[in-house]
């Protein structure tokens, strides 16, 4: 299983978590997995929307104790 990079964006507001994700994705390789932790509800719906639009693979999106975990695989 690919190693997963955790991006802890808890406490940051939209579009902070998305920008943190993109900054990290840029330096990743195709196939790498990333997981964003966010306490911002807007980002929890906006990040999957972005993943869909750009064409990466959404692996998981779930809430645990007020923290959203959004996991994806870089596809390009």
């Amino acid at each position: 299983m690919a190693e997963r990079t955790i991006i802890d964006a808890r406490g940051s507001f939209c579009p902070g978590p998305l920008m943190e994700l993109i900054a990290r994705l840029k330096f990743g390789a195709v196939g790498d997995e990333f997981e964003v932790l966010s306490t911002d509800k807007g980002s929890a719906s906006d990040i999957p929307e972005w993943i869909h639009k750009v064409g990466h693979e959404l692996l998981d999106s779930r809430e645990e104790a007020g923290v959203w975990h959004i996991a994806l695989r870089k596809t390009k």
Partner: protein, 130 residues
């Protein structure tokens, strides 16, 4: 990229809320594969000098942005430029009126742009103003 389009954003306001919203649109638009051009003029431009003081809030929401530590508008514009290749230009008229040099402005801004060029680039795309 599918669904990409051209987004042109004119920013004239110097209030925190409007700068923030313009920066949010520029950054999210740019990292979603759109071709984003930002044109900074009037009261907005002074806030893009290096070391400029923070803009004043227009209302209660602006104060909340500060309290809750929302990502700074300059940081978002910079992300738009660096991560999404957004082009962010000062209006050449505003540069002249304000009397600023390129070296006085944030390094991630492009060179001064005239209105004719901006309008011609904006043709056929979405235009937003703040």
């Amino acid at each position: 990229m599918a669904n990409s389009s051209k987004i042109s954003i004119v920013v004239v306001s110097g209030t925190l809320e409007r700068l923030q919203m313009a920066a949010m649109m520029a950054s999210v638009g740019a990292v979603s594969g759109n071709e984003v051009t930002v044109f900074l003029s009037m009261n907005a431009l002074g806030h893009f000098r290096r070391g400029a003081s923070a803009p004043a809030a227009e209302g209660a929401f602006g104060k909340l942005l500060v309290e809750k530590k929302a990502p700074g508008f300059k940081q978002l514009f910079q992300s738009a430029a660096e991560l999404g290749d957004a082009k962010i230009h000062p209006c050449s008229m505003a540069v002249d009126v304000l009397g600023v040099q390129a070296a006085d402005l944030e390094p991630w801004l492009g060179g001064p742009m005239g209105l004719t060029k901006f309008l011609s680039d904006a043709h056929g795309g979405q235009v937003w103003s703040f």
